[in-house]
């Protein structure tokens, strides 16, 4: 009864702007109620209110999915995803292999071009060979390359590294498809010693000090020098030996490591030269094959 009277009172008093104000105050009170006061009932009210709009909502969702299909959930462990990742990895490896191969080919090409520029039109045939192993006996430090008599390789053919470094000579009569190369560090070489910073092209080679390098222990050469020769550490040693063909003449061989006094000959000194590159460390080399005798 009291409630009815209260409602009647409210309906008579709360009209127009007063009703709006009362509703706003009620909304504000509801808005700042703590969760524990709202949670027990607002969720249920919301579910009841949502009932009539659910069919329309489903229709709208169906329409939306029709117009813009939802993206499938990405599953990183799905077989097709794993397969794609493996394929990507495989192709990445192949790409890397191709890239390395291209780089190696470009290096070979540059080396061949450099040697050819040096060889001029002397009819020397240049072939690229792969270093495939070392001599099993290891006594002479011979290195096996992938060119043989079938390719025209002959004894004493010069082997060149990186286009400008004398690497050695073919040691003996080659087999059909492989040859054994004696590294330059195992050869006795007639050389001249040039300044490290380069030389004037007009100056004759004879003005630079020369010596004969002989293999020594530790993978270096030793050579005797006159005491008046001006030689310093770091100078470049170039081949000046006719025995190794015209192509290799003038190529770099090594670098002066030390200049030592000669105890046995007071007026001479000993120069110690280290190689610029080791044949066994190279992947490919260029072999300068002289034309067969009788070829014009």
């Amino acid at each position: 009864m009291n409630a009815t009277k209260l409602l009647q009172y409210l309906s008579t008093r709360l009209r127009g702007p007063r009703l709006d104000g009362a509703l706003a105050v009620l909304a504000l009170v509801l808005a700042i109620l703590p969760a524990r006061a709202l949670a027990p009932w607002t969720g249920d009210v919301a579910r009841i209110v949502a009932v009539p709009i659910v069919p329309i909502m489903h229709l709208g969702m169906a329409l939306r999915e029709r117009i813009r299909p939802p993206r499938e959930v990405f599953d990183p462990r799905a077989p097709e995803v794993i397969e794609l990742e493996m394929a990507a990895e495989r192709y990445r490896t192949l790409f890397e292999q191709s890239r390395l191969k291209t780089e190696a080919l470009e290096r070979d090409l540059a080396a061949v071009k450099a040697v050819r520029a040096r060889a001029g039109s002397g009819g020397v045939q240049l072939e690229t060979a792969a270093v495939i192993g070392i001599d099993p006996t290891r006594r002479e430090g011979l290195v096996r390359i992938s060119l043989g008599a079938r390719h025209g390789v002959h004894r004493d053919a010069a082997v060149i590294l990186r286009g400008d470094i004398f690497g050695g000579v073919v040691a003996n009569d080659p087999a059909e498809f492989v040859s054994l190369v004696r590294p330059s560090v195992r050869c006795s070489l007639g050389v001249r010693i040039y300044p490290a910073e380069g030389v004037d092209a007009d100056r004759a080679p004879a003005v630079f000090p020369g010596t004969v390098l002989k293999p020594a222990d530790g993978g270096v050469w030793l050579g005797d020098l006159a005491s008046d020769a001006e030689v310093r550490e770091g100078q470049v040693v170039r081949l000046a030996d006719d025995r190794y063909g015209n192509v290799s003449k003038g190529m770099r061989v090594g670098r002066v490591r030390r200049v030592l006094p000669n105890d046995q000959v007071p007026l001479a000194r000993v120069v110690e030269v280290e190689p610029l590159a080791h044949l066994v460390d190279e992947a490919t080399v260029v072999v300068a094959i002289d034309p067969p005798e009788g070829t014009p």
Partner: protein
């Protein structure tokens, strides 16, 4: 004005907002059809009802936009949109005399104003709630209130754009709404002659 028709259109607008509306998203701003319906009603309904019909729509919006709490449960907070729509309606009501009500572009502008003010109040109420009740987090958490106002301002702009065709369509249903078309007759010389 027929309240049943208004409630029906409000529910349809809410359903569209909750389902199909996502397809009309411009950037991160999804337009809402509910403010368009409310503004259409406010501009045509009797002036005393304006705040009430807006609050009713706001209440429905509150009921259908629960907040996800940190413990994974949902909480329906009544009030933020209710108060926001009330203030929005108070801003739109004076525009009734300034705008040509049946022009959809006028309605678009009114919807923009309505949505903007409603969103400001919505954020303000949530900020107040956060200050009073420390353990509450709004829907925009961990963003800031200013960021939410900016986001809602963009939504308001999109609402204004969407309101133009929506109100044009709603105008086609005007006979259903039962808006009063009676004009106040002012006595004058011509009437006296008649």
């Amino acid at each position: 004005m027929r309240w049943a028709v208004y409630i029906l259109f409000t529910l349809i607008a809410l359903a569209i907002d909750a389902s199909f509306g996502g397809i009309l998203k411009i950037g991160e701003s999804q337009p809402r059809f509910l403010p368009c319906v409310v503004v259409f009603a406010i501009l045509s309904a009797p002036r005393p009802y304006a705040v009430r019909i807006a609050m009713m729509a706001g209440l429905l919006a509150d009921l259908l936009s629960p907040v996800l709490r940190s413990d994974g449960t949902q909480l329906v907070v009544l009030g933020p949109w209710t108060l926001g729509f009330a203030l929005g309606s108070l801003a739109v009501v004076p525009l009734r005399t300034l705008l040509y009500r049946r022009n959809p572009i006028s309605s678009g502008f009114a919807t923009l104003v309505f949505s903007l003010l409603a969103s400001v109040v919505f954020v303000a109420v949530w900020v107040l709630r956060m200050l009073l009740l420390r353990d509450e987090t709004p829907s925009w958490w961990p963003g800031t209130g200013g960021g939410e106002v900016w986001r809602q301002a963009k939504v308001a702009l999109v609402n204004g754009l969407v309101a133009v065709p929506t109100v044009w369509l709603l105008e086609k249903t005007r006979p259903l709404w039962g808006f009063s078309t009676a004009k106040r007759v002012i006595p004058g010389a011509a009437r006296d002659l008649a």
